[in-house]
């Protein structure tokens, strides 16, 4: 269960990193301000504050999701310990996997050549832009992961846990001292690096590919009344809300990674990520409805039932990877029966997320306010149901 909190923490940090990246590096402000004699320190501080104000709810929402995990921690730890005892006798690689420091250090070591390879093809500052959020996620994951304990923590350990929980805030305040200097050195120069990246991609790009978007080939297999709306959603989603689609794929890869194990809680962890993926995609659907360009609303026929059905199809297509990859990993590694909870929880979450997304989308700008808490509660309920069903 501790690993669920780790994954959710990584998810929150990923969302925040992507958000900071989109505002600070790729935002419209850079295009406008790069020509003006701005004070980069003030600009960067304002953009970071803007991100904090826009995303403050992520942390309490993660807390709500983790509440059942926190209250059931002791029981879960006991169960996990029992599951470990049931595993076949000690094998060298299993021993290595369980040694926390060695294991995590080993993973970082293993990543180094892979990180060096793409960095060689990019100038160093570009590599920093591209891989910094990933390294941040890795660092947070590494610092959050702790070896499982079999007994309740003593009070001193509990206060240490609080200190660790509050450490990101302290780190943020401490980092704030470095922001002005870093911003003055890097913000305006960053524009040249971004344009370099874009110029290289533009040189590689086939102009015929420019108009294509992820999954647009599916449209030709849909009934005629749905095609226009489905293509509209696929294009709008891929161009304006791509982080939700790529986020679902990241969760899919993560679900496959955690499902590819013989540990007893592997299927549950894969199911948790499949459920998260479904609700992430559902949130993307709410935003699609909220920021649909007004000229499209005027130009296209009223969406009605075909429009809703087309959006449901698109959301299911985007949300399938975490469910399918997570379940397939469990199926191939452990067996078909073990993958049933992943199929059931992921499928149910996808159905609920799509329905909820379509309903909340009718509220346009306020849709996410309704969607987020309901999705969090339903997600937790689904996971609880999976846990109960699995025991």
């Amino acid at each position: 269960m501790g690993s669920i909190s780790l994954w959710i923490a990584i998810l929150v940090v990923s969302v925040l990193s992507l958000d900071v990246f989109s505002r600070l590096i790729r935002g419209v402000d850079r295009d406008v301000l790069s020509l003006l004699p701005i004070d980069p320190a003030r600009v960067v501080r304002a953009l970071l504050l803007q991100t904090a104000v826009a995303r403050w709810w992520l942390v309490p929402c993660a807390g709500i999701v983790l509440l059942p995990v926190a209250t059931g921690r002791r029981r879960a730890v006991g169960r996990a310990a029992g599951a470990r005892r049931r595993l076949p006798g000690p094998r060298p690689h299993r021993q290595r996997r369980r040694a926390p420091a060695g294991h995590r250090g080993g993973r970082v070591q293993a990543l180094r050549p892979a990180a060096r390879r793409p960095a060689r093809r990019n100038p160093r500052p570009q590599a920093a832009f591209l891989y910094a959020p990933g390294l941040l996620v890795l660092a947070v994951g590494r610092s959050s992961a702790s070896p499982p304990t079999r007994c309740p923590p003593p009070p001193r350990a509990r206060s240490l846990a609080w200190a660790r929980l509050l450490s990101p805030a302290a780190a943020a305040v401490a980092a704030g001292a470095f922001v002005p200097g870093l911003a003055r050195r890097a913000y305006l120069r960053g524009t040249a690096v971004v344009s370099e990246i874009d110029a290289r991609y533009a040189a590689l790009e086939d102009p015929r590919e420019a108009g294509r978007v992820y999954l647009d080939w599916v449209v030709r297999f849909l009934p005629a009344p749905l095609r226009t709306f489905a293509l509209d959603d696929l294009r709008h989603g891929w161009r304006a809300r791509r982080s939700f689609v790529t986020g679902a794929w990241l969760l899919a890869v993560a679900a496959a990674a955690v499902g590819w194990t013989e540990r007893a809680d592997g299927p549950l962890r894969a199911a948790a990520l499949a459920v998260a993926g479904a609700f992430v995609v559902g949130a993307g659907g709410v935003l699609l409805a909220a920021d649909e360009p007004p000229f499209l609303r005027a130009w296209l026929p009223p969406r009605g039932a075909p429009g809703a059905l087309a959006r449901a199809v698109v959301l299911v297509l985007w949300g399938l990877p975490p469910v399918v990859l997570g379940a397939l990993a469990v199926w191939l590694r452990v067996g078909a029966p073990a993958s049933h909870p992943v199929w059931l929880a992921g499928g149910a979450a996808l159905a609920v997320a799509v329905g909820l997304s379509l309903g909340a989308g009718r509220l346009r700008q306020r849709g996410l306010v309704v969607y987020t808490p309901v999705a969090a509660v339903v997600g937790v309920a689904l996971l609880a149901w999976t846990v109960v069903g699995g025991t």
Binding site: V28, S34, L35, P37, T191, R200
Partner: protein, 241 residues
């Protein structure tokens, strides 16, 4: 005063490559303060890359870029204080009106006559409409007005007169001329030969990333620039990449 002290714009041995593609090949361009220079070249000649390097939007692979004696890459903020720039595709805050946008730019620059800028750009009647509703020409005029706010000594304009109707283009040319007469410097990139012939004091020809000509417009006869450009272009075959 030394010669370099009066150099408003200096590209020194500048080279820019994107992987194997050479966009600009050892360009040397020096523009004295109080001049109006036209940069002429075919599509892909390297004009925009040169101007982007002056605006600090692209770093040169080799060489140095200075605005009013300030290295653009070493001290980007100081260089931008001396520079008003209009890129080929200007970026503006779409949800602001022209007046709000110009007020914002004036606040950043610490000075600027917003009402006057709106008037000279011919945006007075549309000043309160959001920029997202503007035509291409109006957007360009807004960007020009923003570039000229606070009277920076150097103006760098990339195809800035494209999309303007003839009266608006004539008005902008008058404004640029007045800026030069006041001691300012203008570098205008365009592929329209007539614009440079009529407005600039000097013309620099660029082809395949290299300077292939640098002439005073007063020394060219009517239609002379076009003929010169074609002749020089024929003498300079594209380099093998």
């Amino acid at each position: 005063m030394t010669e370099s002290a009066t150099e408003a714009i200096a590209l020194q041995g500048v080279r820019k490559t994107y992987g194997r593609v050479v966009a600009v090949e050892h360009v040397d361009l020096r523009v004295q303060a109080g001049s109006f220079v036209g940069l002429i070249g075919h599509n892909g000649a390297g004009k925009s890359t040169c101007l982007k390097m002056l605006m600090g939007l692209v770093h040169p692979t080799e060489g140095a870029v200075r605005i009013d004696g300030v290295d653009v890459n070493a001290d980007p903020v100081a260089a931008r204080r001396r520079l008003g720039a209009v890129p080929e595709e200007p970026s503006l805050y779409e949800w602001l009106s022209a007046r709000e946008f110009l007020e914002f730019v004036a606040a950043v620059r610490g000075e600027g006559d917003v009402a006057g800028a709106l008037e000279v750009a011919g945006l007075g009647a549309d000043a309160e409409r959001p920029i997202r509703e503007y035509s291409q020409g109006m957007r360009r005029r807004t960007a020009l007005a923003a570039a000229m706010l606070g009277k920076p000594p150097v103006l760098v304009l990339d195809e800035a007169l494209n999309g303007l109707d003839p009266p608006a283009a004539a008005r902008i040319k008058e404004l640029l001329r007045a800026h030069v007469d006041d001691g300012g410097t203008v570098l205008l990139s365009t592929h329209v030969v007539e614009t440079v012939e009529r407005a600039a004091d000097r013309v620099v020809l660029l082809a395949h990333g290299r300077v292939i000509g640098d002439e005073r417009t007063a020394d060219l006869g009517a239609g002379g620039l076009e003929r010169l450009f074609v002749e020089r272009l024929q003498r300079e075959p594209p380099p093998a990449q």
